[in-house]
């Protein structure tokens, strides 16, 4: 059964443990700017919103890639970037309408959430269960996917 990240901004305290965990898991450094998940701050409302790739069915990044560097992981359903194949042309970063594929100047390649291969570090790090890894058929996920589908019609 495929699982997805469920992001509940209500529960987020803005502690940024998820960003640290993501950066450490994927880049080996504690550097939030290298995190694939980002927490956005709403100063006026005093709220926080964790945000990352929803592994959308449309897979804009995958279709935009000119060299077949983004593939669907059969185990997790995530859209994975193969760092060996990616040339760093950045077309996926402008094609993804959610802005969740980003260029990493240090490696010259793009990075995005790959669900850590099925054991997301952000989920483990989150102290308030604002990020959970749930059955993909969960209602919240359906709504995110529906949103993804309506955002742009091909």
């Amino acid at each position: 059964m495929l699982r997805s990240l469920q992001l509940e901004s209500e529960k987020c305290t803005g502690c940024l443990q998820c960003e640290m965990a993501c950066s450490y898991e994927n880049e080996g450094v504690f550097n939030p700017s290298k995190s694939r998940i980002k927490v956005f701050t709403f100063h006026e409302e005093g709220r926080f919103a964790p945000y990352t790739c929803s592994q959308c069915a449309e897979a804009w990044c995958l279709h935009a890639c000119p060299v077949d560097a983004i593939t669907i992981n059969p185990g997790t359903g995530a859209k994975d970037v193969s760092e060996d194949v990616c040339v760093g042309c950045k077309v996926c970063t402008i094609a993804c309408p959610f802005g969740t594929v980003n260029y990493n100047a240090d490696s010259g390649k793009v990075i995005k959430c790959d669900l850590c291969g099925g054991d997301p570090a952000c989920v483990e790090a989150c102290p308030t269960e604002a990020i959970t890894y749930v059955d993909a058929s969960n209602a919240g996920m359906d709504r995110m996917r529906a949103h993804a589908a309506q955002t742009i019609k091909s």
Binding site: E45, V85, V87, A95, S154
Partner: protein, 425 residues
Amino acid sequence: MHHVIVGSGPAGVVAAETLKTHQKDARVTILNNEDAPPYSRMAIPYYLIDQIEENGTHLRKNKDHYSSIGIDLINGELSAIDLASKTLLLNDSTNKSLQYDKLLLATGSSPNIPKIQGIETEGVSSCWTLADARYLLNKIKKGDDVVLMGAGFIGCIILEALVKSGANLTVVEMEDRMVPRMMNDDAGGMIKDWCLSKGVVIHTGTRVEEIEKLDSGKLGLKLSDGKILEANLAVSATGVSPNTGFLKKEQLKVGQGILVNRSMQTSDPDVFAAGDVAEGLDFSTGEYSIQAIQPTAVDHARVAAKNMIQLGSVEHQGSINMNVLDTLGLISCSFGAWAGVKDGEQVSLINKDRFKYFNLQFEDDLLVGATSIGMTQHVGVLRGLIQSRIRLGDWKDRLLKDPTRLMEAYLSSTQALGFNSKVFA
């Protein structure tokens, strides 16, 4: 049903794959006129600097990909079409021909060859095909003087590769800034300043008028402002034009490129067109034009393929014109109506010392265009906001005051955050 696709770039390949996905028993043939498996021109700069091997440019990495999904990939060049008998004549010694039921013209574009004396001189080349890239890779030596004619999108993409291969580069662009068709004055000027700071010599507002071989063996390039440049090599990147040479006069309706409707169908009901050769619907202007960019080619291909199977099954919603460029490490993007719209509003942030620029263009409370320099995080939401036509409401005024709040505006407006988020009600 035999679908024939002429052209093996992203449009041709994606169309073929879409056809096989949705109509498994269809016969699908791609006609490839280059001496390499289908590849991406976007990857050529990375091949030029030896970051990847030639196969790193290939659209699909597995050699047997096409045969494994039942696509016939054949070599040949289209010389003429007989629409009445649905026959393609191929330009080869065997006088081969090919019958089709539905035809997709995805023939792409070719570089414009400037009409100047000496353009045929040895040492003057385009940088468009893998064959061009092989020639340049073999030719450029560290420390060579190289002149790049044209600082448009393609010129700027190869600019970095030329500098990284050790060339002393001089750029000649006839307009007054870099990438004039993708960047406004501020942004194009900033990219020029950046290149100057990296040691590239740039002449704007002038053009090469004549090229000759000097006694020294080098090339002499005479500019319209009277200057003379000497170079070991000259690379021409003065725009591209659609490949329609195989069409007889008035065989299909052609403007700048082949005219299509929202099904990507041409004036002949069994002939479709996609990619650089097609004048498709532009999302921002509502008009038909040539965008000549990879994401648009893929959009076209998917729509065309579905309509080749069943006409009317999907309508093209218009492609958004967008580009991303890495000029010696300075990353710039532009989206949609980046030059603004009539009676629109705009906001700019500019920091010349740090090479940062951000511009948003609004129409009412919709984001319609954007330009960024030095921004690599979440740039895709610019496309998302423009193409989804999401009303920004109060957020437009907040963005006019502080455009860096883009992500807050995006998240608040899209509610993409999960079912029990009450923050954005």
